[in-house]
């Protein structure tokens, strides 16, 4: 259907790209005719694609099995929760209550305005800050794991991921920073050029741009689509560079990579940092979109779901990872919406509860993919030798014997 290889067939590639752009832009307008929930599903799918592309740098390119990746999503989300909501005022107040001297110093440092209303940064600061914070923490959490490989690395990163989540759950005392299990409320929606993407109060989540109105989920769709395209672009550029090759070399054979002069420590830290920064941005967007964060969004199951997107899609192959992200993010939702009507239609009554059947089908889909496409649904292309290649090629050794 689509064909992407600019070198071989530039025309077909440009046509495919144009068609894809039209489909992507038209999607929310068509889908919202059938209800905003379909666009909302796609919004979440786009967030998952950003996550999967970030994890793809760590797992797919550098070959570092990371089971705690969702921690960086959490960091981005909680950073937004603190810096774009009244929460920071709560934090300062709790410092004043617990440690009056320190609290007073902090209040005088931040000023009465912040002590009253919290911090409200714009999206233009939130996105780079979340990328930076998550990137730095990605490198920091990566540093102790540098000597570990495979299963051992997976277990340690899993631990780190859980530590972050447990921190978020428990940092409500002695000073209240994260609000504990209740999470942070009233996070500001994204505001671009004065227009709130959640729609103004009383507009029933309709965004007005100029004379034009669209549902809030559509506005977020375009924002997430833009960020996704940016992340895809960065991923491609990194992959086809000296750094991307060094990552893959480490994945393929770490000792040989070292012997070729690659500083594996620095390259691994860079992979952790780059991957984490994508996760941080996705987390920040997630918090603004939901206007609420709580620790239960960042469980181990989420890490595993993102890893499944990378592995099922095709590790290290960006189009495959995107496909994996769409399928695994949207499939459960489609099943959720689809299984009950399907049963009604087939049997006239509901035999199995939707939630159970959904899990069942999701698991079955995963098993089938791994059985029939073990390298992923859309793996990186490889150029193999045909079995008879040595026969129909002129004997290579001639130039050698003659010499």
């Amino acid at each position: 259907m689509f064909y992407f290889n600019y070198r071989r067939q530039p025309r077909k590639t440009v046509a495919s790209l144009a068609a894809l752009v039209i489909v992507l832009i038209a999607f929310p307008f068509i889908a919202s005719q059938f209800g905003n929930s379909w666009v909302r599903i796609m919004d979440y799918a786009l967030l998952y694609i950003m996550l999967a592309l970030g994890l793809n740098i760590v797992v797919g390119f550098a070959g570092l099995l990371d089971l705690g990746y969702i921690a960086f999503y959490a960091l981005g989300a909680y950073m937004t929760g603190l810096l774009a909501s009244p929460q920071f005022a709560v934090v300062l107040q709790s410092f004043v209550d617990q440690y009056p001297a320190l609290g007073a110093a902090l209040v005088s440092f931040f000023g009465p305005e912040i002590a009253q209303n919290g911090i409200h940064l714009s999206v233009w600061l939130i996105v780079p800050l979340s990328a930076l914070l998550a990137g730095v923490l990605g490198a920091l959490l990566g540093a102790p794991t540098l000597k570990l490989r495979g299963d051992y690395l997976a277990v340690v990163t899993l631990g780190f991921g859980e530590i972050i989540r447990i921190f978020m759950t428990n940092l409500s005392g002695p000073v209240n920073i994260t609000n504990g299990p209740q999470g942070i409320n009233l996070i500001e929606p994204v505001r671009i050029a004065g227009v709130s993407l959640a729609g103004e109060a009383g507009s029933q989540s309709t965004v007005h741009i100029g004379g034009y109105a669209m549902p809030s989920v559509n506005a977020y769709y375009f924002l997430f689509l833009f960020l996704c395209v940016a992340i895809v672009f960065i991923s491609f550029r990194l992959q086809h560079s000296r750094l991307g090759r060094a990552w893959v070399a480490i994945r393929e054979d770490e000792i040989a990579a070292k012997a070729m002069g690659i500083n594996t420590r620095n390259m691994k830290l860079l992979a952790f940092a780059m991957g984490a920064s994508f996760g941080g941005v996705a987390g920040a967007m997630f918090a603004s979109f939901q206007e609420f964060v709580s620790p239960e969004s960042f469980t181990l199951m989420e890490s595993i779901a993102v890893l499944a997107m990378v592995v099922l899609g095709g590790m290290g192959h960006i189009p495959g990872v995107i496909l994996g992200g769409i399928l695994l993010a949207a499939l459960p939702e489609i099943l959720r919406h689809g299984v009950e009507p399907a049963q009604q239609f087939l049997f006239g009554k509901i035999l199995i509860e939707a939630e159970i059947l959904r899990q069942l089908l999701y698991g079955l889909a995963m098993v089938l993919i791994m059985l029939f496409r073990p390298a992923g649904i859309w793996p990186a292309p490889r150029q193999e030798d045909r079995p008879d290649a040595d026969i129909d090629e002129p004997a290579r050794s001639t130039d050698v014997v003659a010499a």
Partner: protein, 265 residues
């Protein structure tokens, strides 16, 4: 680099190691090993199985930490504490059991070899500004040249693990050459090769030597070593027992003892 053939003796010393020792637990794998490899030489390191050849190699290239020893490369002392620093300093190696980047294409494998001689970072990769584009083009050009040099240019886009055994060896040598090494260290390059492949390898090594490169070679195939090497050091039980030209070494009583002592019985 111009070949400095002469008698081979006046050429500058490329690799100079002295007093190298390495112990694994109770086993003294290397003791007091010294080598002096001159520019343009093919230097052989031979010895019976378990003599410590590969250990010596791994120490020189930074894979193992030596317990003692002085290491000098092209007049400058280097410390073999990390393999990537050794590669940076100018020693490139191949492995006894070929270690390619299997899922990468042949071309990409060689391009990885250029990593250590290139600079572009994250910004260059993402923005692809002029300097980055030029560097990338230079990497590709040099990698293609090297594939052509070792005779597998037509396999450039082939995934490395689908190459034939002999071609994988050639690719590994091309990848090592891509790091612009002062010294090319080959660990049993002929292992597992058939007679035709060995001939081809010999031609390739002679070509590399003729281009002025210096080669340190571990090899079991005595015929190949004797025909190719300018000088040889023989190791036995981790100690050098003889050093000299192939002819000298062949006549050395300690070498005959080490190699034939068991077989003569």
């Amino acid at each position: 680099m111009t070949p400095d053939m002469g008698s081979g003796m006046q050429a500058p010393v490329i690799l100079d190691i002295a007093g190298v020792a390495k112990r694994f637990g109770g086993l003294q794998a290397l003791s007091d090993v010294s080598l002096r490899v001159r520019q343009g030489q093919v230097y052989g390191l031979i010895g019976p199985n378990g003599a410590g050849k590969t250990t010596c190699f791994n120490v020189i290239t930074g894979l193992y930490q030596p317990d003692a020893g002085r290491f000098t490369l092209a007049g400058k002392p280097y410390s073999p504490s990390a393999p990537h620093q050794v590669a940076q300093a100018g020693i490139a190696r191949t492995f006894q059991n070929i270690r390619l980047f299997g899922e990468m294409s042949a071309l990409e494998n060689v391009m990885v070899g250029r990593h250590v001689r290139t600079r572009q970072g994250v910004l260059g990769a993402i923005l692809r500004h002029k300097a980055a584009r030029e560097e990338e083009a230079a990497i590709r050009r040099r990698a293609l040249e090297l594939l052509d040099y070792v005779g597998i240019a037509r396999l450039a886009s082939r995934t490395a693990r689908f190459l034939s055994y002999g071609d994988q060896r050639r690719l590994e040598i091309a990848r090592a050459l891509a790091t612009d090494p002062q010294l090319l260290a080959l660990d049993e390059p002929a292992a597992g090769m058939n007679a035709t492949e060995k001939l081809g390898l010999r031609e390739l090594l002679l070509k590399i030597k003729a281009d002025g490169k210096t080669i340190l070679l571990i090899e079991h195939d005595v015929k190949l070593v004797m025909g190719l090497c300018d000088r040889i050091t023989v190791l036995d039980y981790g100690r050098p027992i003889a050093e000299g030209t192939p002819a000298e070494v062949q006549k050395h009583p300690a070498v005959i003892e080490a190699y034939l002592g068991g077989m003569g019985a």
